[in-house]
């Protein structure tokens, strides 16, 4: 009797645990669906052609859009990519192909820590490094801040992608009398393209939505994009400003901006999935 009672209890326990795990999994999907759904439903109705093609209008005037801030986000991501892609890729190559075990583990650990540094700290650092000496908030300083966030992500994903290329490929290349750097460029990198592209896209998606580091660096601009050494607007900054404003017109535009940002990031993620799926 004792044993059948224990059996029953064990079976119920088993069921209960499975249900709890299932609920936790549902919460993961649930939050995603809620956030995406809420943003899309609220944002899509305020999203229109004017939003993309028009510059901001002063309070009180209806209409206008975020053309300059969308442009600004692209410029910031562009600056960040120009800095972070070569540095990140080369660091990844060094990690995977050049460094010895000890050096690699030190660099790898550092990269992981750097990737975990709160982005607002990165913003403060870029402020001290560029904004103060240059006596101005600027697109450049914001680009650098975003690049610092991108570099470790690009370096680690590139390293992992190159690690997946089998050693036999390296030996085959070397045995043909190909030098190491040509082997890396001609055999290893092409073999790792999918992984590298995936990493770069995910890094871009991550950085496109960063807000905190921009507060100290890009600042935002009421006059549109003026130059790399001038303050510049960006979508996430504009969402922050407009959503907190008392004007319902601006709040609507914040929704539209949130919608656009979500679609951009979601789009990048879907493209990454398609690319890596097709390769398999």
């Amino acid at each position: 009797m004792n044993s059948t009672g224990g059996n029953l209890r064990r079976r119920w326990m088993n069921r209960l645990m499975l249900v709890i795990c299932g609920c936790a999994a549902a919460i993961v999907i649930g939050f995603l669906v809620l956030i995406l759904g809420y943003t899309i439903i609220n944002g899509v109705s305020y999203f229109n052609l004017d939003f993309i093609t028009q510059a901001a209008k002063p309070v009180g005037e209806t209409g206008g859009g975020m053309r300059e801030d969308i442009f600004g986000t692209f410029i910031l991501v562009g600056i960040a990519s120009i800095i972070a892609l070569p540095v990140g890729l080369m660091a990844g190559i060094f990690l995977s192909e050049v460094a010895g075990d000890k050096a690699a583990s030190v660099i790898r650990f550092s990269a992981d820590i750097l990737a975990g540094v709160p982005s607002i700290i990165v913003g403060v650092f870029a402020y001290a490094l560029l904004v103060r000496p240059m006596h101005s908030y600027s697109a450049l300083s914001a680009g650098v801040a975003l690049a610092i966030i991108m570099i470790p992500v690009v370096a680690r994903t590139a390293e992992e992608a190159m690690h997946l290329v089998p050693n036999s490929q390296r030996e085959a290349a070397l045995a043909l009398g190909i030098s190491r750097w040509r082997m890396i460029l001609g055999v290893i990198m092409p073999g790792a393209t999918t992984g590298i592209v995936t990493g770069v896209m995910l890094a871009i998606a991550r950085v496109a939505g960063e807000t905190a580091p921009l507060i100290f660096t890009a600042l935002g601009s009421a006059f549109g994009v003026q130059g790399l050494t001038e303050p510049i607007g960006a979508l996430p900054l504009q969402i922050y400003r407009y959503a907190l404003s008392p004007y319902s017109d601006w709040q609507k535009q914040a929704w539209a901006a949130a919608f656009l940002l979500v679609i951009l990031v979601l789009g990048i993620n879907i493209v990454v999935r398609l690319v890596s799926y097709r390769k398999k």
Partner: protein
């Protein structure tokens, strides 16, 4: 008793007298006291051997005896592996390839290699695979200039007829046997003097194996071939000289016919008659 020993001695001399050679008449490679390690583990112990020019030299022996390491020392690939260390001399045309002023990349350009598993570059077309040894050592090359080399190499590797209409398809789309011949074509394309083959047929079916063997007999007219094989019939079929290795030592090295008919060492005899290994 003494008399008997004397006779035995005489008998051995007679066999040695017939062939008398401890190395082929014309050697392209002379190995002197070669030792190699993986970390602290010695995998080759003091090996001295000569490799005959434009001939096929086979290395046989049980797994782990160091035969792969030996040929990887010849093109300086052993030192690339984690913990790979080499001591001794390998003379090629009177020049020690381990001399400090020698660039391993130059050595590898004159010594091609074919691996156990076909190591086709999967991101490249058949054409680019064959040309890769050339394109990846030059800054820039025109396809028109490469066409001749690619066709000639594929013909020598007996693959041209099978792939001539699909040169732009991925190298990975070929069958296992074709991929291995593609690797041979790729090795030939850089016009080496020596081609090392590390168990090139161990992953292939008998028909593909036969094709590769015919190919070896064909290319030995122009190249020196060194092949590592687990298949003793293969060594007997294709090679001119055979070396038997055991636990990092070269036990016996002689013309193939002798190794397989009158082996001098008991261990060689045991191995080729299938008593161990």
């Amino acid at each position: 008793m003494m008399n008997q020993l004397f006779k035995l001695d005489k008998g051995l001399e007679a066999i040695g007298g017939e062939t008398s050679a401890t190395k082929p008449p014309r050697c392209i490679i002379e190995v002197e006291n070669l030792s190699a390690w993986y970390g602290h583990k010695a995998v080759l112990k003091n090996i001295s051997v000569g490799i005959g020019v434009r001939s096929i030299t086979a290395l046989i022996g049980p797994s782990g005896c160091g035969k792969s390491t030996f040929i990887r020392c010849i093109n300086r690939l052993h030192e690339v592996a984690e913990g790979g260390k080499v001591a001794g001399k390998i003379m090629k045309d009177g020049q020690d390839i381990y001399a400090p002023d020698i660039d391993p990349v130059d050595i590898r350009r004159s010594i091609g290699m074919v691996f156990q598993r076909a190591s086709v570059f999967p991101t490249m077309s058949i054409f680019s695979n064959v040309a890769s040894g050339i394109t990846l050592t030059r800054i820039w090359s025109r396809r028109r200039d490469l066409q001749d080399v690619v066709e000639r190499s594929l013909r020598k590797a007996a693959l041209w007829e099978e792939v001539k209409d699909k040169l732009d398809q991925s190298g990975a789309s070929l069958s296992g046997g074709q991929q291995q011949r593609l690797c041979i074509a790729r090795a030939i394309a850089i016009e080496p003097e020596i081609i090392l083959m590390d168990e090139p047929c161990s992953a292939l079916d008998p028909i593909s194996t036969l094709k590769i063997e015919e190919l070896m007999l064909e290319i030995k007219k122009d190249y020196t071939v060194v092949i590592v094989t687990h298949n003793m019939q293969q060594a007997a079929r294709v090679s001119d000289w055979t070396g038997f290795m055991l636990l990092g030592d070269l036990i016996e090295y002689a013309p193939t016919r002798e190794v397989f008919t009158v082996p001098k060492d008991k261990r060689t005899e045991d191995y080729i008659t299938g008593r161990f290994g």
